[in-house]
Amino acid sequence: MKVDLVIAGVGGQGNLFASEVISRYALGRGYNVLGTETIGAAQRGGSVVSHIRISEGPIYSPLVPSGQADLLLGLEPVEMLRHSGRLSPQGRYLLNMYKIPTVMSNMGLDHYPTEGEIERALASLGVSGCIIPATQRAYEIGNAVLANVVMLGALCAVSSFFDRQAMRETLATTAPRKVLELNLTAFDEGFALACRNLQPSS
């Protein structure tokens, strides 16, 4: 039994908090967990990627090997696509459709793909997954920063490894107390969104 996850996003999207909740959830169920992330200079609007490896047996590499990820979470579409090579052909993705243009796409020096192009690129990979407007929904319920928590709720609909109730409890003990209610609302919203948008496994 093993679950390898990769979370790709942009600095400031709460990638590390999402990894923490996932890791604590798996540890709480008695699994071994090994993870890593790119942090530091990448925080300033650059790419941030977390790797989380969950297994019953020993885990050696903190990096998820290419083609081995069971789940790929994209907090941002281009960053998720950039790391699609990590995904296993049997894996699934969960994408927050909230585009963060790059400096050079704004300047017209690079093309940022349209939603249609993103969806077609994902379809050409031949893996199943789910697209939700996590940032938009987080903004509507009070704070766009909670997109990561919306994604955690959605993750429970996408992967049977994550039990909704147990994950919610892990979130409740990880989130700062003064924003706990908002976190739980974001989580529930994410679960509901993903249930609606989930594509059947091919």
Partner: protein, 612 residues
């Protein structure tokens, strides 16, 4: 007794190892991937923890403490170890008293650094100090504990060289006791050791002291060889075939990962020490036809193995990063798998991968945070530099992102403090163009002020901009000598950049500006360019991200929007300012209200008055 276990970062595990060893003094300078090693010590009362002005200062502090018999730790990233190397090349000759460990964290792949150098070279090949290279957070903690014992046993400074993937890995770590009472310090003079100088040593037949101490260090080499042989960090695993895989540090983790993926066991030699366990290596090599060495990042162990096997007359092919494996970049399970399938095409996992992506993806470069004080400063500076055909020498820090698109302002970035001396050289060259240097406050205190002192004394004509946000923002808001709170959270009197600069010379040209007020910045820059000598501008405003944590902002919030009627589509706000909240859709600029923090600087940037 139930062992307590905790899920933690590699850097916390390293700190825990030092704390459980009874470390008393911890000093370092921030830098990814090493920073959390220092801050994690704050959990333990009784340990003196500080961010020092630079890495050389930190290592000197650590040895000063060690000479009294207490245990000490110096922490830095690889570039910082370069700054400390002068001192390192003397402490290797004198040795230590209380256990002393230098943690020099490397960043293979350069994910957060200006280079991807391998500090096993300065610390082991150059300074001849013993190095431990962990493959996991758990091993890093064990190595820290062993290093303190061995440092006292050998009287040498031990080096722990974790790579970023070990520093930033998160794993479950077994905890031990942290001793409550530290050792009592005691200072005993030994001038024949601790006075490093060109003096004749009477007791050594009139030899020069540096030769005597060099001999002492060479003798230690023999003791280290014996220790490597019995070290628990080196071992052999039996497996199929005559190709032996040598995993050094994190290289071992990737070898084991490849074994799991291929469901196969190779003969493996796991190495974690420098010097190498010579006998263990030779015995392993004699049974093999080929050895592949996986190490980060230079072929250090590979070349040492070739030398040893040549001396021992063992004929084995040795492959590694000198030619067979990539000579640069980070190792990964994929690098190991690719190399194995190169040796045996049956060992391939290529069929398990997804097809390559059908569309090209835009690159994402780092940029100033939304709300950063320096974006407006860099924008104005760009305007002045363009108009005067100036050249800007850059430095390390948040402002360095001005060198990327859209601004492409700085023409050089090297290492901490290089900007002012490089600008000085540009001025001396006779080029006849105005020169500018831009550096941050933490870099100023690190060693940047030396370049400024030189430039002021020599009377160089240049403009120096010091970005002063009272913190080391780039690496995660660590305090420096200009910060009002130190690492331990104590209120201290910060050293004022302005006062230091004013003290350099009577009538020094110094202006302090608020970088959010771009009109004020422009005026100051235009005045500075006209000055005959060094003219310093201090752009002082708190870091927005740090202020936000404390729920204050360094500016008055001001909701902004673009008036489509007034927007001429000139795109100055995008191409010459580049706030990520300003987005272009079909040639029209809009402000993404989710991203915008309402600093209002863009209002001044738009000369057409379309943003209000």
């Amino acid at each position: 007794m139930v062992t307590e276990k905790r899920f933690m970062m590699g850097n916390e595990a390293i700190a825990r190892g030092a704390a459980e060893s009874g470390v008393k003094v911890v000093a370092g300078y921030p830098g990814t991937p090493a920073s959390e090693i220092v801050t994690s010590h704050l959990d333990f009362p009784g340990i003196h923890v500080e961010w020092s002005a630079n890495e050389k200062v930190a290592l000197e502090i650590a040895l000063g403490a060690s000479l009294t018999g207490v245990r000490a730790l110096a922490v830095m990233k690889h570039n910082g170890t370069n700054a400390a190397t002068d001192f390192l090349m003397h402490l290797n000759y004198t040795g230590v008293r209380g256990g002393l460990v230098l943690v020099s964290a490397d960043d293979p792949g350069g994910n957060s650094s200006q280079n991807e150098e391998d500090t096993r070279i300065p610390t082991h090949l150059y300074a001849h100090l013993p190095v431990l290279d962990p493959f996991s957070p758990a091993e890093a903690k064990q190595m820290m504990q062993a290093a303190y014992e061995l440092s006292e046993q050998t009287e040498l400074c031990y080096v722990l060289r974790p790579v970023a993937r070990v520093c930033h890995a998160r794993a479950t770590i077994e905890l031990g006791e942290v001793p409550k009472a530290g050792r009592q310090p005691e200072f005993v003079d030994d001038r024949s050791r601790f006075i490093m100088s060109a003096v004749v040593e009477k007791t050594a037949g009139g030899q020069m002291r540096p030769v005597v101490r060099h001999h002492w260090l060479n003798e230690k080499g023999q003791q280290l060889l014996a220790l490597a042989e019995e070290s628990p960090f080196n071992w052999v695993e039996e497996g199929e075939g005559k190709t032996g895989l040598i995993g050094c540090g994190i290289g071992y983790a990737y070898v084991k990962e490849a074994e799991q993926m291929l469901d196969r066991q190779f003969p493996v030699l796991k190495l974690g020490t420098l010097p190498l366990p010579r006998r263990k290596l030779v015995e392993f090599a004699r049974r093999m036809e080929c050895l592949v060495v996986y190490e980060e990042t230079e072929p250090v162990v590979e070349r040492m193995i070739k030398e040893i096997l040549f001396e021992e007359g063992v004929q084995v092919q040795v492959l590694g990063r000198s030619s067979f494996l990539p000579g640069e970049g980070e190792l990964s399970p994929a690098v190991v798998l690719d190399s194995l399938s190169k040796l045996d095409p049956n060992l391939s996992t290529a069929d398990q991968r997804l097809p390559p992506l059908a569309i090209p993806l835009p690159l994402r470069t780092r940029t100033q945070c939304v709300g950063c004080a320096y974006r407006g400063l860099l924008h104005v500076l760009q305007g002045v530099v363009r108009k005067t055909k100036g050249i800007v020498a850059g430095d390390i820090g948040c402002h360095d992102m001005g060198s990327f698109p859209p601004l492409e302002l700085q023409s050089t970035i090297y290492c901490m403090g290089s900007s002012i001396p490089m600008a000085t050289g540009l001025a001396y060259s006779g080029l006849g163009r105005p020169v500018f240097a831009i550096m941050g406050d933490s870099t100023f205190f690190h060693n940047g002020m030396l370049g400024l002192i030189n430039a002021v004394y020599q009377g160089v004509k240049m403009v120096v901009i010091i970005c002063d946000n009272a913190t080391t923002a780039m690496t995660g808001f660590q305090p420096h000598p200009g910060s009002p709170l130190n690492l331990r959270g104590e209120r201290v009197q910060p050293i004022s950049v302005e006062k230091v600069v004013r003290a350099l010379q009577e009538g020094a040209s110094v202006q302090t500006v608020d970088p959010y007020q771009i009109g004020e910045v422009k005026e100051a820059l235009e005045k500075a360019v006209a000055e005959p000598g060094v003219s310093v501008i201090i752009a002082a405003a708190p870091c927005y991200l740090l202020s936000r944590r404390e729920e204050v902002t360094p500016f008055e919030r001001r909701p902004v929007r673009v008036d489509e009627e007034k927007c001429t589509g000139c795109l100055v706000c995008v191409n010459d300012f580049g706030c990520p909240a300003l987005q272009v859709q079909d040639g029209v600029v809009t402000i993404d209200q989710i991203t915008c923090v309402q600093c209002g600087v863009c209002v001044e940037v738009c000369s057409g008055g379309a943003i209000s």
